[in-house]
Structures are given as structure tokens and as C-alpha cells.
Amino acid sequence: MAGRKAYADVSLCKGCGLCVEACPVQAIVQTTQLNEKGYEVIQVDADKCIGCGSCYTTCPDYVYEVR
């Protein structure tokens, strides 16, 4: 999975935090920044991301693309 990273479209995020819990390397953090729907969104730290796809699997709102 070398080189693969998670990219988040935070306009779809509802701030549920399931990906934050699922990420095995704590590369995703919950922020207090709001998206246009008014949800507090997450942020991905690309340096820490190992591209495992756990966030894609758990996210109920299809925020992630792992490529």
C-alpha cells in the first residue's frame, strides 16, 4: 500500500468521529472547523497516513477516497 493516501471531501462530513476511532495510526483528527452544512469536520494528516483504507470502510458518508 506504499504511496497510497486518504483524501477527505469534508463537505460531505457529518463529524461522527467513527474514522477518528478506526484509524490505526491516529492520522485523522476531529477539528472545530465547520463545513457549509454546519458540521464539525475532520482533518487528515497525510504524513501519518498509511493508506490502509480503514477510514473509507467505516465512513457512512463517503467522505474518503484512498488512492
Binding site: G3, R4, L12, C16, G17, G53, T57, P60, E65
Partner: protein, 249 residues
């Protein structure tokens, strides 16, 4: 193998569910299975009147919504007239095990080659979180049992999947969504349900334990933990029945 993970093409709208709801994951698992099996073009989505109704708009598939709890009857009709199409039901536990239990029993008895996915979150989600007679756990606070479900006045829940699996149909299994591992396992169960239908075997019933953070008044993470520790202890995750011989996990 480096593989890109991207939302399936058949999901065409942002999710309308509450944050942390399991329905979004189930919708994606269904779309992924249909895509991987190459049957999206001939799939017919039969949705019930409840939260799963959103998938009618959210997915670019042929779809139909029937009267509440009667989707097994609707799907039976579609499958009998269009036997080459892939017909699946996406319904909740209230529809399948409470108001529509007669239809669920009949589709099991008829053994129609349809795939039925029951989302069990233990409450009537869309109407405001009332107690579901079949699946709300004892002690669980709901809108209609604010002090917790009480055995003497509200009765006890039951394992409907186990009860139904004594009938002669193809496949019955229960999955959950509280971890990446369980989501992947649930996907295998749903895929197996569709494969049974492609091979013109009998009826497949897959129950998925899902969280309803809004009506449980828990955070999504705490709701998933409750499914893992409390709900899955009451409703075991395993394959209940498989005429084709899948191992009893």
C-alpha cells in the same frame, strides 16, 4: 496490489442519514457487491418505508417502495414476474420483525430467490425512536419506554433470525458494523446473498446490527461500542443457516 478505494458509481447523492448511522455503510456495501458481481444493471432495490427509504434516491438503481413491512410480498411478485433480475430488499427490524413478520415468514416458507437485508438497530428509527417489540433490549430507554424496557409490561425481545432459520430456505446470517473487520465480514455475507440469487438458489436473509446514535442518545462511537458489547451479546453474529455449506462462524 495497490487499489484505489472510491465510493461506488451507483451512489449518486450525498447520504441523507444522521451522522454515524449504519445505513450509509450498508448502502455502500450493497453498491460495492452489485458492482463487483457486475449485476448493477439488473438490480431492483425494494425499500421499506423507514430510514432505508433514502436509498431510493441515493442509488442509481431501479427501485420500488411498498407498503410498510410488506416488501417481501412486493419482492416476491417482482421476482416471480422477472426471474432474471436481481431483487433485493433493504428494510429495518421494525418492518421485518414486527409489523411485517407475516410477510417475512411467508417469503422464508416460499423460498423465493430474493436477497433480504434487515438493518437491526433495535428501535423504530424514523418515527422517533419508539420501542420495537421484537428487538429493543430489556432496560433500553426509548421514546415509548423512557424508564427502560420492562419485561412485565413490555415483554421480552427475541432472536428472530434464529427462529426463522428453522424454515427451509437458503441462507441466514447476522453481521455488524462496529469495526472494520465486522464491516468486511458483513460485506461477504451480503455478497453471498447476491451470489445465491445469481445461482438461482433460494431465499437469503442477512441481518445487520447497526447503531442509531440519534435515537439511542449516544455519540456514534459510544453507540458502536454498545452494539459490540451489549447488542451482539444478545444477538450473536454468525451464520445460522446455509444449505450451500458456508461454515457456521
Amino acid at each position: 496490489m495497490i487499489q484505489t478505494l472510491r465510493k461506488p458509481d451507483r451512489i449518486v447523492q450525498p447520504c441523507g442519514f444522521c451522522g454515524g448511522c449504519g445505513h450509509g455503510v450498508i448502502q455502500r456495501l450493497i453498491a460495492e457487491c452489485l458492482e463487483e458481481l457486475g449485476i448493477s444493471d439488473r438490480a431492483i432495490n425494494c425499500v421499506d418505508i423507514a430510514c432505508c427509504f433514502w436509498t431510493l434516491d441515493g442509488m442509481d438503481l431501479d427501485g420500488i417502495a411498498g407498503p410498510h413491512g410488506r416488501l417481501p410480498a412486493v419482492a416476491t411478485g417482482i421476482k416471480k414476474t422477472r426471474p432474471d433480475d436481481i431483487v433485493y430488499i433493504h428494510a429495518g427490524d421494525g418492518a421485518s420483525y414486527t409489523i411485517g413478520i407475516a410477510e417475512t415468514v411467508h417469503i422464508c416458507l416460499r423460498d423465493v430467490p430474493v436477497t433480504m437485508i434487515v438493518v437491526n438497530n433495535g428501535v423504530f428509527g424514523m418515527t422517533g425512536g419508539q420501542m420495537s417489540l421484537g428487538t429493543t433490549l430489556l432496560g433500553q430507554a426509548t421514546t415509548s419506554t423512557p424508564r427502560g424496557r420492562n419485561e412485565s409490561s413490555n415483554g421480552s425481545p427475541g432472536d428472530f433470525l434464529q427462529a426463522l432459520s428453522q424454515f427451509d430456505f437458503e441462507f441466514a446470517a447476522r453481521g455488524a458494523l462496529y469495526s472494520v473487520k465486522e464491516i468486511n465480514r458483513t460485506k461477504q455475507l451480503i455478497k453471498k446473498g447476491f451470489q445465491n440469487q445469481m445461482e438461482k438458489k433460494g431465499f437469503s436473509l442477512i441481518e445487520v446490527l447497526s447503531a442509531c446514535p440519534t435515537n439511542w442518545h449516544l455519540s456514534p462511537v459510544a453507540a458502536n461500542k454498545r452494539v459490540e458489547e451489549v447488542v451482539a451479546a444478545q444477538f450473536p453474529l454468525r451464520v445460522y443457516k446455509d444449505r450451500g455449506g458456508m461454515s457456521d462462524g
